[in-house]
Each structure stands twice: as C-alpha cells, then as structure tokens.
Subunit: 197 residues, 2 copies
Amino acid sequence: MDIFPAQKLSCTIEALYATPNKQFVTEAVDALDLTFAGIEGDRHGGLTRKSGGREPWYKRGTEMRNERHLTIVSFQELQEVADEMGLAEIKPEWIGGNMVLSGLPNLSYLPASTLIFFEGGVTLKIDYMNGPCTVSGASIAKFAGVADPIKTKLDFPKVAKRKRGTLAWVEKPGRIEVGEKARVQIPEQWIYSGTPA
Amino acid sequence: MDIFPAQKLSCTIEALYATPNKQFVTEAVDALDLTFAGIEGDRHGGLTRKSGGREPWYKRGTEMRNERHLTIVSFQELQEVADEMGLAEIKPEWIGGNMVLSGLPNLSYLPASTLIFFEGGVTLKIDYMNGPCTVSGASIAKFAGVADPIKTKLDFPKVAKRKRGTLAWVEKPGRIEVGEKARVQIPEQWIYSGTPA
C-alpha cells in the first residue's frame, strides 16, 4: 500500500477528549486513564458492548466483544471534510472524538491490527476505520449553526467517508497525555508485496 | 488484493481441537464452547494474557489484551509445508491448532478484522496471521519421528512462514461444531482500490 510511507511511523497526541456525562459530544481533557475496558467511565467503555447500526448482521443490542474503545481523528482529515461541506471547521468533540493524532498521513486508512505504542507505556490497537453517520452530521449541523441542518446531517456520511478517523481498543492500559509521542507499527502484511505460491 | 476472489467468501469447519490438559498439543473434539474469553478451560483462554516472544516490544509476561483465542489452520497449507519439509503430513494438533477451515484459499492471509460468521451464531474475528515457531517445529519432529529433529525444529519457522494459519478471537460467543458452515467477510479496505485524495 503506497499510502503508507513505511511500516514504522511516529505520531503525537494533539488533543484528548472524554465523555464524563456519557453524552455523544466529548470534552477536552489533558489526560485519559485507560483500562482493558477502555476509557474509565466512558459511554464506549466495557469489555463487551451492544451491537448497533454498524453491525447490520446482528439483531440490534446483541452482546459482542467491544473493539471500539476510542475514536481517533485527524485535524487534517476533518478540515478536508469541513472544506468540502462549506464549513469553517469540524471540531473532534462534536462527533465524539477521543483523540487527535498528528504526523500520520491518511489516519483513517491505518490498517486493522496496527499497533500504537505511546511513550508512557500504553498500547492501542486499531480495529478499523470509522464510518461517518447522521448522528455526527446532526451534531455538526447544531454546533456549526448551519442554515440547512438536514443537508449537513445527510452530507456528512457521504463527504466524510474514509476521512472520519479510526477506532481502537486498549491492548495495554495506563495513562495517556496530550503532547505524548507514539510509535506506530503497521502489520507486515500491508507492506509485504509477495503473494502466496 | 487479488489473492482474495471476493469480499464475501464461505468456509466449513473440517475439524476442531481442544487442550483440556493445558498442554501445547491439542486433541480432536466434535464441538467447542466459546465465551468472550475464548475456549472454555483452554490454555489460550482469558480476556487478557501474558506477552511472550511474539511481542518483543514488551517485557515478557506483560499483561495485555488477549486477541489470540483460537489458532486456525488449513489442511492445504499444512500439506504444502509438509511436502517442502519432506514429511508425509503435519497434523493440526501437533502445532496446537484449534480449528481447520476449508474453502478459503490462502487462509493465512485473511486480513486482520475479517469476520467469520458461523451458521450457529458464533462470530470470530481475525487478529493476524500466526508466526511459526520452533516449539511447533520440535513438536512436529517428535510426532513425525524424523531422523534429524533439530533440522525439522529449525526448518519449520522458515518453511511455514505465511502458511501457519491465523489467530482469531471470539466476537460473539456460543457453540461451534465440526461440519458447520460459515460466511467470511473481508474488510472493505482490502477490496476497495481507491487511494486518498
């Protein structure tokens, strides 16, 4: 995949957000304490979770392993989406973001099983790119104060496709802080160009 | 990735194996009961596990999320390895296999986050291809009764690279049985050929 310059990359935590009140919208914080169940007290915490619209193959509410502890986004990708939607900006907290990482081109494309080793000792593992939904679109419409909120709500899932960041779970718990650096390790399968015999 | 004929494939459970005595070698069974912690009573069970040689970036014994509940192998790939090593066969139980799936070309290459939906209701999610090690090599040497066990032990990690199957965890628990069929869903990112703007 030529969209990744190398198997090993580096990045920095630009911002962190939590949802202490269990609402969809997040609030900026200086640090997050992560356990094997995700962010302490977060609406997306838990070793398991209930399935929803993203898992159309299950009856809604089916108990399943929770692979989406954190929502990671990129300021650059969100700005590209905002530009295309005619908005000044899209703030990560409007769409439930938990972390902004800088230094990674095409953050949303980080392959499943990519490991992010934070210098403080925490490891996150990528599940898969996040799908933009109308809940986020409606939240953007509200906070941006647009003239046609229905249009903004419906535009977001289309415009933000493959630019809405990615989902990760906690492989190794601990505290992460704004400004912390991390090493990123993309699975060899994405770099290895050989094919089976 | 042209090694996958389509995003949606199907497969069948040819065999299942458990390790009731917590040894490395497994034993054939008719069914396996899976929980969010993996195979009931298995040596690889648990919501978390201790890191080992496959995670050289951690101090050995570091507590981490357990993403390797089951070892899945393919009779075809194992036969290719056996042929190249001059052996009549390599049995899945010799190398700690838990499941044999048929119908999937290049099983070891199933991408991370691939979902396997069994018709009985269980879902497994692929973590990543398994790396062949000398523990497996030594076990093969012992069971195959080779003339030069050291050579077999050291050959296996080289010859079986990218043919030693894959690791998966339980996304949705329940019972799986020999002969059961499953649908396989490869992440869209491996099929989608577009690149970011």
